[in-house]
């Protein structure tokens, strides 16, 4: 393969930078899973919503200079969407006794995925859009990097750090971790789990919205753009282990690395397969993911 070291490094760096954003997706998914015990299959659709809001905000309202404000609006917008959807779809699982909760959740979120995605096709049209960006190309030594990409990964790292602080250092974080492990005990401790559910769901999807908004100028805005984001999110969850924040970050970086290297050195059409192979490998060696927790069973 014809390749200079410089280009190789550039490939790796850009891979890593995107990896961080997908880590955000992964964290959103495991976060929701840990609290409401539901795999949110529609996660990518919230990514899509985030990217559409970003586009509308930048293109029609704010202009490229205020992209960061648009990012905040998009994140808040998806948060709100999550906060509205949760009581309608997820809450019934807990508000009344229900058998087969998992199945209900799976089907409802898959249906939500189809609904949001096909709504986007039907309403937004199948075209691609792209929020304008005027961030300059940033030179890392001799290597050019898209400004939007650098900005996006920087924001993502900040968001991950912030999230980590909240989870580890605050009462709400403690309550979230506690509820994730034992809902009944959380309730007897006085936590209003139904409210916490909605908040957690909204925070989780807001992470997807944030990723969508940040990546919109890079990977564009179209109805199915969330599909790949979901895929990467799941891969990272497995690599990093369910519910582990550093795991998500490391998983994201690892995935970015493997994909960019595989694509460059092995074969390009299999670009998306490298991640899957990594996932399968990790699971065979460590069935609970690299950072997965093990609890006493008997």
């Amino acid at each position: 393969m014809m390749y200079t070291t410089e280009l190789l490094i550039q490939t790796v760096i850009s891979g890593l930078m995107v990896g961080v954003l997908y880590a955000l997706m992964a964290l959103g998914i495991t976060f929701i899973y840990s609290i409401v015990k539901t795999i949110n299959w529609a996660m990518g659709e919230f990514y899509m919503i985030g990217s559409y809001i970003q586009f509308v905000a930048v293109h029609f309202l704010l202009g490229p200079n205020y992209w960061w404000l648009a990012v905040i609006i998009s994140t808040a917008g998806t948060f709100l969407a999550g906060y509205i959807i949760e009581p309608i779809l997820i809450k019934p699982m807990y508000a009344r006794p229900m058998q087969r909760r998992d199945d209900y959740a799976t089907v409802v979120t898959i249906a939500l995925l189809l609904l949001l995605r096909s709504l986007a096709v039907a309403i937004g049209g199948p075209n691609q859009y792209r929020p304008e960006t005027n961030l300059p190309i940033i030179w890392l030594g001799p290597l050019p990097q898209e400004g939007a990409r650098v900005a996006a990964s920087f924001c993502a790292v900040v968001a991950l750090g912030l999230f980590w602080l909240v989870i580890k250092k605050t009462w709400v974080g403690l309550a979230l971790r506690a509820t994730a492990q034992n809902r009944v005990a959380a309730q007897t401790s006085g936590v209003d789990v139904l409210r916490l559910d909605a908040t957690a769901f909204a925070i989780g999807v807001a992470m997807a919205g944030l990723a969508g908004a940040l990546l919109a100028p890079l990977f564009m805005v179209f109805p199915t753009n969330g599909a790949v984001a979901t895929v990467k999110g799941f891969e990272i969850i497995v690599i990093g282990g369910l519910g582990s924040i550093p795991g998500a970050l490391i998983g994201g970086l690892l995935l970015g690395l493997v994909e960019s290297l595989g694509t460059s050195f092995i074969s390009s059409p299999y670009q998306n397969a490298y991640g899957f192979l990594l996932v399968i490998l990790v699971l065979i060696v460590k069935p609970n993911g690299l950072f997965g927790e093990k609890v006493r069973e008997a």
């Binding site: 014809m2 280009l7 490939t11 850009s14 891979g15 564009m220 390009s268 059409p269």
Partner: protein
């Protein structure tokens, strides 16, 4: 009974994972086609209705749609295909069930090369399309060419055809071919490889999102605007090109089958006007071609004076029809992929100024018949 409407069937990808953007265009064209026919008093005095079915780009769903159109909706002709795979799969069943099909935007050889009596097509097949950019590249005396193609029927066929023409014609181009999965969101690794190859020109064989992504990222890595890029179909003809790429439009050319400078038939002019009114943008090839399919089928029925499939096929094979283009449409029983095939004119267009309309784009190359 004679007052029953005549049903024309459309099978197009309207939902993911199909290529919904093209599906929408087909739907627009077909609907205007029916409007046109009814405005002109229908076919054989009977009203025309459409039955539009979604293939979602999946073969089996397309086949089911065909069965549905034929056995339940009693469609007398089926067109609108965008995915070659769907078209080929449908033809396998159609050759038994008898109702003719017409490929609207399906480029793979096998759509017609199997010489099924029911299989027709009005689209540029791979060889002339590849010949167009090969000709354009030769005309500019470029030597090193990078092909970036998605691993779909479309991408594979065109990439192979380009390599074949280079080899068969001893053109002496140095070609680097890189294939990628169409769900790929990041083409940076591939483009960096292309950059290392130092090409003179890049052939962009992506459909939809990857096509746009490649333009954006080629700018990032500094390939565009110095290294010229040609896209494999007329996506840049749509206004979204300007929205997405803004200032980064230079160096991009695109294959087109139609430019507003092209000569349109009377029907084509009717269509262009209505389309502009209805959708507020100039008509695009996909829509034009679907419209053309509808009116050509109508003419064939008029000629056969019946909706009997055999008679229609006979009429299609022997007649000459007016589609959207000034060039008459015929379906000769020719050899290979040219069987029952009408190809639109092919050209390479290039914008010369920002926010230009397609009509003002420069015609950089035209493929001779």
């Amino acid at each position: 009974l004679a007052q029953d409407p005549i049903v024309l069937g459309v099978i197009a990808p309207l939902s993911p994972p199909g290529e919904t953007a093209l599906g929408q265009l087909v739907k627009r064209g077909a609907e205007l086609g029916a409007d046109y026919l009814n405005e002109k008093g229908g076919i054989l005095g009977r009203k025309v209705t459409l039955s539009i079915q979604d293939s979602a780009g999946k073969n089996e769903q397309g086949v089911a749609a065909y069965r549905r159109l034929v056995t339940q909706d009693k469609a007398v002709a089926v067109f609108g295909f965008v995915h070659s795979g769907v078209n080929i799969a449908v033809n396998e069943v159609a050759k038994e069930m008898g109702v003719p099909t017409m490929g609207t935007q399906t480029g793979a050889g096998d759509v017609t090369a199997k010489k099924y009596p029911i299989a027709f097509r009005t689209h540029a097949v791979d060889p002339p399309r590849a010949a167009t950019w090969v000709g354009w590249i030769k005309k500019n005396n470029w030597k090193r060419v990078a092909i970036l193609a998605e691993t779909t029927d479309f991408g594979i066929g065109l990439a192979k055809e380009t390599e074949k023409q280079n080899k068969d014609g001893n053109l002496g181009l140095e070609i680097q071919t890189i294939m990628f999965d169409r769900t790929t969101t990041d083409l940076l690794p591939q483009l960096l490889q292309v950059k290392a190859f130092k090409p003179d020109a890049i052939v962009n064989i992506g459909v939809g999102q990857p096509l746009e992504l490649m333009i954006t990222q080629a700018n990032t890595v500094g390939l565009l605007p110095d290294v010229k890029m040609v896209t494999s179909y007329d996506a840049p003809a749509r206004p979204q090109f300007w929205q997405i790429h803004g200032d980064k439009w230079k160096g991009v050319s695109f294959i087109a089958f139609y430019s507003p400078k092209s000569e349109l038939s009377e029907l084509g002019k009717w269509f262009a006007k209505k389309y502009q009114e209805k959708f507020n943008e100039p008509p695009v090839y996909g829509a034009l071609n679907a419209f053309g399919n509808a009116v050509v089928f109508a003419q064939a029925i008029e000629k056969a004076k019946s909706t009997d499939p055999k008679a229609m096929i006979e009429a299609l094979e022997t007649g000459s029809f007016t589609g959207w283009s000034a060039v008459p449409v015929t379906f000769p029983k020719a050899e290979g992929v040219l069987w029952h095939n009408w190809s639109p004119p092919l050209m390479v267009l290039t914008y010369t100024a920002k926010d230009q309309s397609v009509g003002d784009a420069e015609v950089s190359y035209t493929l001779d018949k």
